[in-house]
């Protein structure tokens, strides 16, 4: 048989096809297999009960608890992934409830310039793309506190990624405020700007 190339193309194709077939078959039966058309790392939403668990027991804002929209339910239909602990997402109302608690720290995942232009009042800045687990401000943060990460809004994933990193570092209660800075600002909730950077 005449070999035109240095390698036998047919063998290459066979290897690729058969290994892919094995992979797809394996994925069907493997308990940690993934779905082809879904974002398997999509995180679920926090139910209000999960929120209340992370508020300190002597929270003085008992009145606002009754305003909680109980129709927000947690999504427990996540494929289990034991290697990555997943944070839960929260909406604006839930974010504000946590905001009023002393036990919550908001973390802005955007870069320092966006943070300086405007951020949620009292939040600290830990830019996701420069995330360093040995960062001093990170180490001084109490791991028992409730953390809420955020970035620009719906399109931005840094808040989710940052939240996952924090969970890995041992923070107990980490939530992702999906609607982010834009929504918070437009709602007229308390913000800060840094005058000098």
């Amino acid at each position: 048989m005449e070999k035109k190339f240095i390698v036998d193309i047919k063998s290459i194709i066979l290897i690729l096809v058969f290994s892919s077939a094995i992979g797809l078959t394996f994925n069907q039966f493997y308990s940690k297999g993934i779905l082809l058309l879904e974002d398997n790392n999509k995180i679920g939403l926090a139910g209000d009960d999960e929120l209340l668990n992370s508020l300190p027991a002597d929270s003085s804002d008992n009145k606002s608890d009754s305003e909680i929209d109980l129709s927000v339910s947690g999504n427990s239909a996540e494929k289990s992934n034991s290697n990555i602990k997943l944070p839960k997402g929260i909406n604006l109302k839930q974010a504000y409830i946590l905001f009023k608690s002393d036990n919550t720290v908001f973390i802005d995942a955007r870069d320092q310039w966006e943070f300086g232009d405007g951020h949620i009042k009292g939040s600290i800045n830990i830019p996701y793309y420069k995330f360093d687990k040995n960062d001093k401000s990170l180490q001084s943060l109490d791991k028992e506190k409730t953390i809420v990460t955020y970035c620009d809004g719906d399109d931005c994933e840094m808040s989710t990624s940052l939240a996952k990193n924090l969970l890995e570092l041992g923070f107990k209660n980490v939530f992702v405020f999906f609607d982010g800075w834009e929504t918070w600002k437009n709602s007229g909730f308390p913000i800060n700007k840094s005058e000098n950077l």
Binding site: I6, I22, L36, D39, I84
Partner: protein, 149 residues
């Protein structure tokens, strides 16, 4: 120089080393496909479907090619497959560096974090050189031959 590169013991070493690296790397990713899918997604270069399909098939291609390399079966072809994968990885890491992304490369699965940086590119280039060596010279020393000819 050519005598060294085409020396049958050196070739066998290259083949076995490359094979084991890829069997190990592939196995780690097979164990945690969602994690590997997440690593691919971090590069922000591919649509979801492609990400998922790659997360399912690439690890098995790595393991199969690696295993066949170790056994000395169709060495040049498997070296070609692995070299192609390495080229793609180098390219992806280079793009990410240029875009300023600070991400885990996902090279050995989610349990061992390695940053997608210059070191990783150099590592991959070294492996690529082994692959190219094997494509050109093959490796017949200590391989499966079977009884049919």
């Amino acid at each position: 120089m050519k005598e060294i590169i085409s020396n049958k013991y050196i070739l066998m070493l290259s083949r076995v080393i490359l094979g084991f690296i890829f069997v190990f790397a592939g196995a780690e990713k097979i164990a945690d496909p969602a994690g590997f899918a997440g690593s691919i997604d971090n590069y922000k270069l591919f649509p979801l479907f492609l990400v998922n399909i790659s997360a399912i098939t690439i690890p098995w291609i790595e393991v199969t090619a690696g295993l066949l390399l170790i056994l000395g079966v169709t060495v040049k072809e498997n070296a070609f497959i692995i070299s192609s994968l390495l080229l793609i990885f180098i390219f992806l890491i280079a793009i990410s560096l240029l875009r300023g992304l600070n991400i885990d490369c996902g090279c050995y699965g989610t349990s061992s974090p390695h940053t997608a940086g210059i070191n990783k590119i150099i590592e991959n280039l070294i492996m690529l050189s082994l692959g190219i060596q094997l494509i050109f010279f093959g490796s017949d020393f200590l391989k499966l031959t079977g009884s049919s000819k």
